[in-house]
């Protein structure tokens, strides 16, 4: 296996600029993975056009380079390839897998999709109606309802609170000109970062990357810049009211941290003690001892800025209030008393040794490098992960909890049947400042 990073051309005025290219070669299977990412995402959409970046990315394959939507889909499948689009607040990316023998033909197709989309009005109308149907259908998924309303209220007024897939009114307001503008904003050579992994060499990757972006305008990068989120003060409860729930989905959280924060690794280690393994405090108390929830987890994700720290459980409706009280107690203990030296030693071993599974394929390795590139992570964040974890000291971990995680500014989101659990759940949260009840079909 081998890895390389090929930088942008140093002579942008003489020759077309080249996108940043990352390559991880592995001949283990006749399969190539490809990501074409752009440093511009949904946070740059106009405020009344939630979902625009996602619609634009989905429109690429619905007619391009003289091919209809149906012809493109036939071609992708016939080549033994798969193609998907992913949109975050700061990045739009296309992911593809392709059987090695079809790579060349697939790149020709991808160059058309990325560089020559037609944005046919009829197709756009069809996609918007499809996306609206998907929004309604997603009301069936209680976990996704919980996450959506948790983010909506935690990041109120911030890009991270916006719904990436849009809302029904915002989708209904999108017209072709919006899509063309979004395309011109996002899909430029300057914004592009391309990653190849698998059965491919550096030289071949460079040639194919040039072909992919050949049809894109040669403009410098215009990345989406997201401001640091802040948290509304106080303790709030959001109940997403849905009929006939035998079970609840509960998220409790507050603002988290970012790799640019000096205490990010200490907090990540401490969060793993709380809810990152099968023997974590949350799992032991909620699942193993009480059997209240199939899973009990704590997470500390990040994006371009700090994201949310959260604890997730899904107990029966009858156990919801008690489960919230227990989680708040565990959060309090974690914050006030910290983690122990023994817990720290254990989790450091787990994180260091299990890192092997973050890098055991060429695609996983290149995705970590892509993450560093797109989110502008500190030098060596992923490459020196093991060193960072090993370096975490007990006091630093406990100080990070106290410094970053607020018990006063806290959001509790529960999906359940309000008439059945509302009062009990509210009583389980001391010092509650605000209760918001949202119908499950509000969006």
């Amino acid at each position: 296996m081998s890895a390389s990073r090929i930088p942008m051309s140093s002579s942008p005025h003489l020759t077309p600029s080249r996108p940043t290219l990352l390559v991880e070669s592995s001949p283990a299977l006749p399969l190539v993975h490809l990501t074409v990412a752009f440093r511009n995402g949904a946070a740059s959409d106009p405020l009344d056009k939630d979902g625009l970046a996602r619609i634009t990315a989905r429109m690429l394959r619905r007619g391009a380079g003289g091919m209809t939507s149906a012809e493109i889909e036939e071609r992708i499948d016939a080549l033994g390839a798969s193609l998907s689009a992913e949109v975050s607040s700061s990045v739009v990316s296309l992911h593809a897998d392709v059987i090695s023998r079809s790579l060349d033909a697939f790149i020709d197709l991808l160059a058309k999709i990325v560089g020559e989309p037609t944005f046919d009005e009829v197709e756009l109308g069809r996609l918007l109606r499809e996306a609206e149907g998907e929004l309604i259908e997603s009301r069936d998924n209680d976990r996704s309802l919980a996450v959506r309303h948790f983010r909506r209220h935690l990041f109120e007024g911030h890009a991270y609170g916006r719904r990436l897939g849009g809302q029904i009114p915002s989708l209904r307001g999108i017209v072709r000109d919006d899509v063309v503008r979004a395309y011109n904003r996002i899909f430029t050579r300057g914004n592009a970062v391309i990653a190849f992994s698998g059965d491919i060499t550096d030289v071949r990757a460079q040639e194919l990357a040039d072909r992919i972006v050949a049809g894109l305008p040669d403009r410098p990068a215009e990345p989406t810049i997201i401001p640091e989120p802040t948290m509304k003060p106080g303790r709030r409860l959001v109940v997403v009211d849905k009929p006939e729930r035998t079970q609840t989905q509960i998220l409790i959280g507050t603002l988290g941290s970012h790799p640019k924060d000096e205490d990010h690794f200490p907090l990540q280690v401490a969060t793993t003690v709380l809810g990152g393994t099968f023997t974590s405090r949350l799992m032991r108390e909620v699942r193993s001892k009480r059997g209240w929830s199939y899973g009990a987890y704590a997470r500390l994700p990040y994006e371009q800025r700090r994201d949310a720290f959260s604890m997730w459980t899904f107990p029966a409706a009858t156990d919801a209030a008690a489960c919230i009280a227990l989680k708040l107690e565990l959060l309090h203990d974690w914050r006030q008393k910290g983690i122990t030296a023994r817990e720290l030693a254990f989790v450091k071993k787990f994180m260091v040794r299990s890192h092997a599974f973050e890098i055991d394929t060429a695609d996983k390795r290149v995705q970590l490098r892509l993450d560093s590139e797109l989110l502008d992570l500190p030098e060596g964040h992923h490459e020196r992960y093991v060193e960072h974890v090993k370096a975490v000291q007990l006091e630093a971990a406990n100080e990070a909890i106290r410094h970053r995680i607020s018990e006063d500014d806290l959001l509790v989101t529960v999906v359940g049947t309000h008439a059945q659990i509302g009062d009990a759940v509210a009583k389980a949260i001391p010092r509650l400042d605000e209760v918001i009840v949202v119908p499950f079909d509000a969006e």
């Binding site: 080549l79 079809s102 609206e132 032991r284 059997g291 092997a356 055991d360 394929t361």
Partner: protein, 466 residues
């Protein structure tokens, strides 16, 4: 001792030599003696060495040094098909209990030791099988061998753990079935389609059965099914084969084989007329699921019927997606799948309606596509397309050591052929348009289907489409 076919010379190099095996077996009791059964070619570049211990334990080893990790799977030939009415869900509950106490190691130790070693661990249960897996850095493989052998032979079952785990499983059922429309509908489909065969009850079990299990039920299940001669170990990764086999001999060699019960599964009687049920659910849109009686996974017809399922349902270029989602705009999603069960299962189809659309509209559109594939052959281009798609799927599934181990374990357990994934790919490649047409006409019979229609409760229904 089992017969040992002599492998071809090139394949023989992929396993331990006779002399190395003899050295491993020297002074060992009969149950611990290990023999090479055969070496399987696993695609163009990989091999699987199949060994068996004297106590009947099968060990499949595929060396892969692409990363310094090992995936260790233990597949048991037991699933919900081995349960009885009134005791449904026992195989799955038992899978949970396997993470608890063993003699000399209190509850929680299993997970703690593995996590400390950096392992990922989990398990799954379905109708025909149960498997446990650990992915672990290569230098900790000895720990996995030791812990897996201990829980195969020395599990301790106590009331408090059984009570707590029953509650966890009840919550899992609420999550996957009771509060999940699709889960509930799928459960009902199999209940209606299978009146006699064990596939008619859900692997997670009926709620009243889950809540009624005793520690004695669990102990009896363990004694009956968790024996070395009912298990297959699959090891894929960066291992030294001789050291690995020595560890397996030492850890499992003392276990006695069990007398496995005669499998008491009733074949499903032929279905002679359509079965249809309409239910209401707290969901914003209508849904429909259809189950046509299908072949067993090992049946030759399973291959062309799977190709047909791909043509109809796989991806955005599939016929059903194009018709229902793109052209008619009556569905948000449409899927289809031929169940991969040891006994004949179902060709399942599932569609979710756009707001205001009905199950009748979904059914009419699906029937249009079904009647077309029964009436006229699919095109050579479509068949070539889905052949490329299944090849891609197989390659994607083989990227990690865990992915390879899962393919090997599944095919070994369900079909008795560890390398079956590639044999199946060859069978897909050989499939002709005539094969697909024959399968369509044999299986897509209206009299052999079960339909569940889901209507949204009035208060929940989203409005008609704008």
């Amino acid at each position: 001792m089992l017969a040992t076919p002599i492998p071809a010379p090139s394949a023989r190099k992929a396993a331990l030599s006779d002399a190395a095996l003899a050295a491993l077996n020297e002074g060992k009791p009969e149950n611990a003696r290990i023999s090479l059964v055969r070496v399987h070619a696993f695609g163009p570049a990989m091999t699987i060495a199949e060994y068996r211990l004297g106590n009947g334990l099968t060990v499949l080893v595929s060396k892969d040094d692409s990363a310094p990790v090992v995936s260790y799977h233990t597949w048991f030939n037991v699933g919900s098909r081995h349960e009885k009415p009134g005791k449904t869900g026992l195989a799955h509950l038992f899978e949970h209990l396997m993470f608890n106490e063993v003699e000399g190691r209190p509850a929680g130790t299993f997970d703690r030791l593995l996590e400390e070693a950096g392992a990922e661990t989990n398990a799954a249960t379905w109708v025909d099988w149960t498997f446990y897996h650990e992915n672990i850095p290569r230098d900790r493989i000895g720990l996995v061998v030791q812990l897996e052998a201990e829980r195969m032979g020395k599990l301790v079952l106590r009331d408090p753990q059984v009570t707590s785990e029953k509650e966890v499983v009840a919550n899992e059922r609420r999550y996957r079935v009771d509060d999940d429309v699709e889960g509930a509908v799928n459960e009902l489909l199999y209940k209606q389609a299978f009146t006699r065969h064990a596939y008619g009850w859900p692997t997670i079990g009926w709620m009243e059965d889950i809540q009624g299990f005793t520690t004695e039920d669990c102990a009896a299940f363990y004694k009956t099914f968790y024996s070395p001669n009912n298990a297959t170990i699959v090891v894929v990764g960066d291992v030294k084969e001789r050291e690995l086999l020595a560890k397996i001999q030492a850890a499992y060699g003392h276990l006695e084989p069990a007398t496995l019960p005669i499998e008491d599964v009733h074949p499903e009687p032929p279905q002679t007329e359509e079965r249809r049920t309409t239910i209401t659910k707290p969901t914003p849109t209508a849904k429909i699921t259809l189950g046509y009686r299908g072949p067993a996974f090992g049946d030759a017809d399973h291959v062309p019927l799977t190709m047909l399922a791909e043509i109809l349902f796989s991806g955005r270029s599939s016929r059903a997606y194009r018709s229902l989602v793109q052209e008619k705009e009556i569905a948000t999603e449409v899927r289809g799948w031929v169940s991969t069960f040891r006994d004949p299962g179902l060709f399942e189809m599932y569609a979710t309606a756009r707001p205001g659309r009905t199950p009748a509209e979904l059914l009419a559109a699906l029937e249009e596509e079904i009647e077309r594939v029964v009436r006229e052959p699919v095109s050579e281009e479509e068949l070539a397309k889905v052949k490329a798609k299944v090849e891609l799927s197989l390659l994607q599934s083989l990227e990690t050591a865990n992915g390879k181990a899962e393919q090997i374990g599944f095919y070994a357990t369900v079909l008795g052929d560890p390398a079956g994934a590639f044999a199946r790919l060859d069978a897909y490649r050989r499939t002709t348009v005539s094969d697909v047409l024959r399968a369509a006409r044999r299986y897509l019979l209206p009299t052999q289907r079960t339909i569940i229609e889901v209507l949204p409760e009035a208060a929940m229904a989203a409005g008609t489409q704008a």
